[in-house]
Subunit: 335 residues, 2 copies
């Protein structure tokens, strides 16, 4: 965080002292006054490393509330750690700031970032703040710990395993549509609260870190759903060299998503292939499914069975009568 600074206490140093130092509560962050941070894992453990970047105008709207942007930037990484069964340990922040981002924006941004860092036990360890003539860009590298070899992989699913998913699917995709096409709320016959909830789900993911330990104990494979359930779960199946049959009607939907789907059946594809869910999809051996469900209940994380793993290759989604559903595009992509 202490690089490319202006002379004396100016430029980046002032930014750091004012906005970021309060977040760097880990002793290994050295109050952001050194070139690097230190972090160690407990003996018999290892570090799980992940990085995710979000760009204004691509992954969020430039006028999204700064606190929502902060939470999203950190939470998309926390979601990865959760799905990999890791306990959060800290993060590094890269901020590429356009001139338009002022002190007021940063104040709200860093306050929310600090609040989430505390809530999820994932302190700021360091970072780099640079100027950009382009859009605001935030990259976070997040670190967690697991017992050696215990990171839950995409590979590991076995025929016969149950397929489960946390929370509800598709809300963020609808939330994004509602932001760009406000008239959709009426077409979908949404109440004001349903509309707000869907948009909120797009703005601020709810990572499932409370379930990480149970995933480690009971899941054979897992990943976080960030680019659409259909495409992401297909990746898990391919990494595991298995097939799976998912019953689309079992995929958990929120009240708002259910209302929208009732109004427009064609939205099913959006729900199942839209991005930004940040839920966990996992496969679980039959002998462990009830234990996982009990753990999820205890952790207050909704968990739904949506299908079974079979022999073969790749995920099939079927409707209530067992007919295979086709999707023009399996995943959400910015490319």
């Amino acid at each position: 965080m202490a690089r490319r600074a202006g002379g004396g206490q100016s430029g980046e140093e002032r930014l750091i002292a004012r906005h970021f130092k309060p977040l760097a509560r880990s002793p290994g962050a050295f109050d952001l006054t050194d070139d690097a941070a230190v972090l160690r894992h407990p003996r018999g453990h290892e570090m799980v490393l992940t990085v995710d970047a979000i760009v204004a105008g691509v992954h969020f709207f430039a006028d999204d509330p700064p606190d929502a942007v902060a939470r999203k930037a950190l939470r998309v990484n926390l979601s990865d750690l959760a799905a990999k069964a890791a306990t959060p340990a800290g993060f590094l922040l890269t901020l590429a700031l356009p001139k338009s981002i002022g002190d007021g924006w940063l104040k709200i941004f860093t306050r929310a970032l600090g609040s989430d860092a505390t809530r999820f036990g994932c302190p700021l360890l360091g970072g780099d703040t640079v100027f950009t003539p382009g859009p605001l860009t935030i990259s976070i590298a997040a670190f967690g710990t697991v017992p050696i070899g215990a990171m839950v992989r995409r590979a590991g699913a076995r025929p016969g395993d149950h397929v489960v998913v946390t929370g509800t699917i598709g809300d963020a995709a609808l939330g994004l549509k509602l932001k760009t096409d406000p008239a959709a709320a009426r077409r979908w016959r949404l109440g004001a609260k349903e509309r707000r909830d869907l948009i909120q789900r797009y703005l601020v993911p709810e990572p499932r870190n409370a379930l990480a330990e149970a995933i480690r104990e009971f899941a054979s494979a897992a990943m976080d759903v960030s680019d659409g359930l259909v495409g992401d779960f297909d990746k898990l199946c391919r990494a595991s060299a298995v097939a799976a049959e998912i019953e689309a009607e079992q995929v958990p939907l929120s009240k708002g998503a259910r209302a929208a789907l009732t109004a427009d059946r064609k939205l099913l594809a959006n729900l199942l292939t839209g991005g930004d869910d940040y839920e966990i999809v996992a496969t679980v051996p039959p002998a462990k499914i009830e234990a996982l469900e009990a753990a999820a209940k205890a952790a207050h994380v909704p968990l739904s069975r949506i299908g079974r793993v079979t022999k073969g290759r790749g995920a099939r989604f079927v409707d209530g009568r067992g007919r295979r559903l086709g999707f023009a595009q399996a995943s959400f992509s910015h490319f």
Copy 2:
């Protein structure tokens, strides 16, 4: 690296398979086919974490050779690890790519990145590739290991310590000037080779990882010089709560820098406050200075004594007659 991917094997996944997978030789990278990587430090050690971002048009020129951009992006981080006395262990890469970056560019970029990763023992562990409507932006989070508590800090310098710096100072600042003002080469009476060498020093830093172990053994404090020797070393003094007197004439200069300075004495400020040196400045107790010099010689890293630490606060630069030098701006800043 496996996020925000396009449907099937398209978009980001294709990029990864084609360009980045060959670099991910660490088993903990899982061939970039999972959501996260794993990494562990030896027992009795800890991880040193650093992150640095570079933006086209800010930290490098959009038309700089892709191999130079790759090396710079990684090496600015390797330089931090070297100055902190850490042994490189791996890195995470965030690439925000504008549409103008094509396959040909990426091929050269990733090949050079892989070559440096091998040379410095710092493999690619994972990353995220996102689209940006703005300039190419590269953020690298790099990890090294040190024995617990052995990271060399900015704090730690004591009155009486020698001040040393590796390599030569100011070349990159002149190289940058030569890129933006080619006529300067004639004013400074530079030969073609000197001109090329200075520009090369701007394009591709030479991090001093070969000296990391000796820094750990012999230095009381250290940091890498990235924003100008004057401002950076002043930060080290303030972090250590000491003062220091640096003899400007002892600051090591390359042949090209010396020629330019002879032609234009006013360049001294540019040399001492310009950015992008990526050398190490360190303080060393008198009892250890000769051992460090011997280690530097053995590692083929040029090392020069440039001053002494004293009581007080902050760094003073003096000329050959002991007169204090003033600088309008102590550090290079993009803000």
